[in-house]
Structures are given as C-alpha cells and as structure tokens.
Point group: C2
Chain length 344, copies 2
C-alpha cells in the first residue's frame, strides 16, 4: 500500500485554496497529514475538507516541516517569502502565484503539455496563470504536429480569477441593481456588473496589461517556443467562474478544422464541444465545476491560409489553478519522484 502524503496548503481560505482541498478529496489523493495554512488573521478559521472541516493555522517557520508537498495559492509577495522556506523544509512546492513562473530555474508545468519539465525542479514548481493553462492545453496538441507561428487571444475572464472579494462585489452590484439601491465599486476600478473591463492586472509602457504579458511569456515558456508571436487583449466580464478565450492561430502548414477537431478529441484534458448549428459550444456556465478544457467553434480562419479560429473555456479555479497543481503532484508521485524527504 502506498504511503500517505503530507500536504500543506498555504492560502487555504482563498478561492483556490478551498478548491485545492476539494480536489484532493475528489481525486482520492492519498492525503496523510493535511495542514491548512493562511495569514495570521485566518488563525482558528475552519475550512471544509471531506465530510467535515479542518482548522486553519497561521503560517510559521515550522509549518512545512514534514510536508511532502506545499500547495501555495497566495499573493506573489507572500509566495516570495514562504515558497523558499517550504522548499528548504523539504517539501516540493507547487506554487500558483505569479512569483516564480518566469524564473529560469523554476519549471512552469501543465502536466498534459510539458510533464518532463516538472522533474527539473529545485524545490519549487510553478503553475501557470489560469488564462495560460487552458490555452496551452488546447493548443499544444496542434503545436506538436504543426508548429504554431502566431497566436491572437482575446479573453472573457470570470471575476473569481480576482478572488472571493470580486465574486462578492459582482453579486452585491447585481443585487443592488435589481433592488435599485446604491452599490460600491471597490475591487475593480469600474462597475463590473453589466459591464466589461479591458484591464486585468497592471499596465506596462508598451500598453499591454500584466495578464496579457503573462499569457505571452508563460505560453512561450511552456511550449518551449521563446520566439512565438503572441498577442492578447484580456477582459474581465460579469461571469462568476469560467474563463473564455477567442483564439486565432497561424500554423506552419495548412490544416482543416476537421483535422484539428480530431486531434483535440484525442488530446488529454480536452473536451470538444462543437456543434454550433445545434447551439453546442463551450460556455463558462457549463464549464464551472468541471475538469476539462472545453474547445469549440473550431473553424478554418478565413483571414489566413494557415489559420484556425476556436473558442476555449475552462474553470479558472480548477484546471486554471488548483486542479493543475494537484495534477503536478500526482505526476511526480506517478513517476516515483517523491519529495526530497523520500529521496534522501
């Protein structure tokens, strides 16, 4: 019988942290000791796990002692502080923040796409940004047989990508609008209910926002294509869970939409939903709570001889965050690359 794996979850009270706990349970992960960690102010809170609840502890220097994996979903600055400590304590860190993704010594891993990279870690493995994960899961199977030379992606991103305060803000605004009451604009710089905001993260001098730059840089790193031409406009929409992406790619050689569809039907982690005449295409409302990356509206792009257009949707909290991290842990375990404690 395989031994139990000790897990520390840092950021356990957040949307992604809670999803870590749910997914560990759903997938019958062989959890030994489970530590739910967060900041001081969450000390003593309870978070759901299994049929019950477990207490949350404030993260401390010794919080990761004996942990096999540290699953981390916190702000970049918090991760910069704690991920190295967890790694030094012997845990393999799978980090969901943006702190480590572009560090050359840290692998950036989507198990369906670049599993081998996971084994090059030095204690920390990064998970990509939510909007990147669903893009590369859908595009890697195509890129492998017919290299993609350019990607244009415009996104429709759910508020849960920002966190639970944003979900509450959208709900509160919708509630107030229905009741004709005053409402606050706090999490986002503008009202998000009945609106769309072409702004995710902070802006660079080149006019791109940080979410767009993440899509570009992370996709290049994961696909081992440092020169791939990529552009994006990332947009927040009044949806709770589920990111959608309108994607236009250019391929090295022409390919039919039917060939792309067949490739994606056979691809791990992908579900093709593509009968537009029957009103069947991926929708964020359908993707919420599901594990797959859903792809539809697959068609030859009429603006380019080697172009393909498609529509990609996935649950940003699951495959876009927590699920991907748990799959990284499963990947290491499946190939016998158990955390350092075991290797020592």
């Amino acid at each position: 019988m395989p031994r139990k794996i000790n897990i520390a979850v840092l950021g356990a009270t957040g949307l992604v942290g809670r999803t870590f706990l749910r997914i560990l349970e759903e997938r019958h992960f062989p959890v030994g000791e489970l530590r739910a960690l967060a900041s001081e102010r969450s000390e003593g809170k309870l978070v759901p796990f299994g049929a019950g609840e477990i207490p949350v502890h404030a993260v401390r220097e010794d919080s990761f002692d004996g942990a096999d994996f540290a699953l981390i979903a916190v702000d970049d600055s918090v991760s910069r502080e704690w991920a190295p400590k967890a790694a030094r304590a012997g845990a393999v860190v799978v980090d969901k923040s943006g702190a480590w993704r572009m560090d050359p010594s840290v692998p950036l891993v989507v198990p369906e796409v670049n599993p081998d990279d996971a084994f090059e870690h030095d204690g920390i493995i990064a998970g990509p940004n939510c909007s990147t994960i669903q893009l590369v899961v859908a595009l890697a199977p195509i890129h492998r047989v017919n290299p993609i030379t350019r990607i244009i992606v415009d996104s429709y991103q759910a508020v849960s990508g920002t966190g639970s305060a944003a979900v509450e803000e959208l709900k509160a605004q919708n509630r107030a609008i229905v009741k004709g009451e005053h409402y606050e604009i706090d999490v986002y710089p503008h009202q998000i209910a009945l609106n769309v905001l072409p702004h995710i993260g902070s802006f660079s001098d080149n006019g791109y926002c940080s979410e767009e730059i993440k899509l570009v840089n992370e996709t290049r790193k994961i696909l081992h294509s440092p020169d791939m031409a990529i552009s994006a406009t990332t947009v927040r929409v009044p949806v709770e869970v589920g990111h959608s992406e309108a994607v236009h790619i250019e391929l090295t050689h022409p390919m039919t939409a039917a060939e792309v569809r067949d490739l994606l039907r056979a691809a791990p982690g992908v579900a093709v939903v593509d009968d537009p005449s029957g009103s069947q295409y991926p929708l964020p409302l359908d993707a919420a709570g599901r594990d797959e990356v859903f792809v539809g509206r697959i068609r030859n792009d009429i603006s380019h001889p080697h172009g393909i257009a498609m529509w990609i949707v996935s649950d940003n909290l699951r495959k876009g965050a927590a699920l991907n991290a748990v799959q990284v842990a499963e990947l290491l375990m499946a190939r016998g690359a158990l955390p350092s404690k075991q290797r020592g």
Copy 2:
C-alpha cells in the same frame, strides 16, 4: 428657412425605432410630418417624441405617401416587403435591417467613412450592422493613410442588439438569480446572465455565424476593399447597451501607437480614451447614451511588425443603428440631395 422634412419611421416601437425618434429630436432635425409605423399589433400604441407621445399606426400601402425619408428598423423579411414600397412612394429609405446591405445596387453607408456612396442610391440606402459601424469608424482613418491588410476582431456585444425582449430576459434572469427564483431561457439558447455566448445569428457551413460574416462582408464593402482579410468571433455578453471589440490589425507599413492615437484624435465621430495606467479606456457602461465611437488600449501589437491592437466601444442603438441612419439623412440634405419628391 429650410422646408420641413416628412419622416416615416417603420419599426417605431422597437429599441432602434424609439432611438430614431429620440435622435431626431435631440439633433433638432427639421421634422415636418412624423409617422410612427409598425405591425398591426402595435396599432394605437403611443411612442415618446419630444415632450409628448405620438400614435403608432399599422404600416399600409399608402403609409409612405409624401414622406421624404423612411427610416426602417425591422426584421429583414419585413424590410424586404416594405422598403421597396417606400422607395416607390418617393421616400429615400435608410434601412437598418440586414436585407439590403450586400445588394450591389444599394449603398452601405457610414457618413464618416464613405459619404460619397450615399449619393449612388436608387431609393434605398442601407446602414451596416452595429458591430461593423463602430469598427469602420475607428479603422477607416487608419486605412486611408496606411492600408489595412488584415483585421481580427473579437466582440463583446450587448443584449440590446437583439432587441427589447433580450434586454428584458437579461434583467429577469438577474432578478431571479438575486432572489433565488426560477427563470426562463427563451430569447437566447442558453442563459445570458453570468454567462457569455459565442453565437450571434445563425451558423454557416464554414463554422462562422452570421454576425461574423456581416462584419467581414460589410467592412469590405464600406472600405471598398473586397479582398481585405478579416476574421471575427462575435460573442454576446451580459451587458445591456454598448458593444465592445478587441481588434488586431495588420498595416501595409509600420506605424507607432502614438501615430494611430493622433490620427484617431482628429477623426470624425471618434473619441480616444486611452490612459490605461489611470484606468481610462472605453467601457460599454460609459458609451451607452453617447454618440461617439470610443477607442482605447491603442498599442503596437507585439505579435506582428506592422500590427496595431485596440479596443473599440460604442452605443449599439445610437451610432450602431439609429444615429447612423439619421446622419445619412442629414448628409443627403446637407449636400442638397433631397428626396426624389423634391428633385422631381
């Protein structure tokens, strides 16, 4: 003193029809006799005009007698029946439906873009689809000095583009979700509240939907560029008024974002809102009720050496429909090309 102009509005009870009446008044259009026309079932209804209301009449064979202009915003099939009758009665028809746009004998006109085409009419002038109008108003000034070779546009379209039943459905769904009640899904094939639908119109065999094909064909016709490469993914979002578009263009020669910004600042009908670091960019909520086509997020597209990316937003009922049609009438009047009754 210029003579008064007799106007017949067909489809007067619809969202665009009501906006026709509001805009005629706002712009102090020299309205003589004003006839509000609709189908039989609207006979006797009242629609707002000026400080009061005017009665709606069922459209009949003699409804257009003596009218200088017929402003038409009805379903394609209804327009196919009545637009030719209105033209035969001597009115110049400005039609908002999709019935006539691609007819080679019918000019498709956006006054800021191709005003001269308006004078080639044979009784009927078509106004483009809402998503096309805002695109060409923003792109024509660039295309004139540096021909655009390819356009990719992904849209975020408000439910008012579908009509008043869709606005009511979005409101009813939001209300029911807030109250935890059951709700209907009727106008769209899926829930639109808290969701996005990559489906506007009906689908063709090539996988594109009719809204996307309109964007392609109408843009080519208006810009007199029958071979321009254009692709689109059109998406309905839970916004009441205001269509948004993420646009990526390729130009013949390189151009800086600053040059594009300067061009657009001087362009008729365009308002540049482009200070992303100050959270200033076009938003549908801000554009609703306004006449301009708002452009922001203007940047050199990092995926193409001659590429520009931008974000275009406009009120789909005003510039996207009613305002554009009234501007066509004003254009004919300003150049002395009054309707046939006067020319005879």
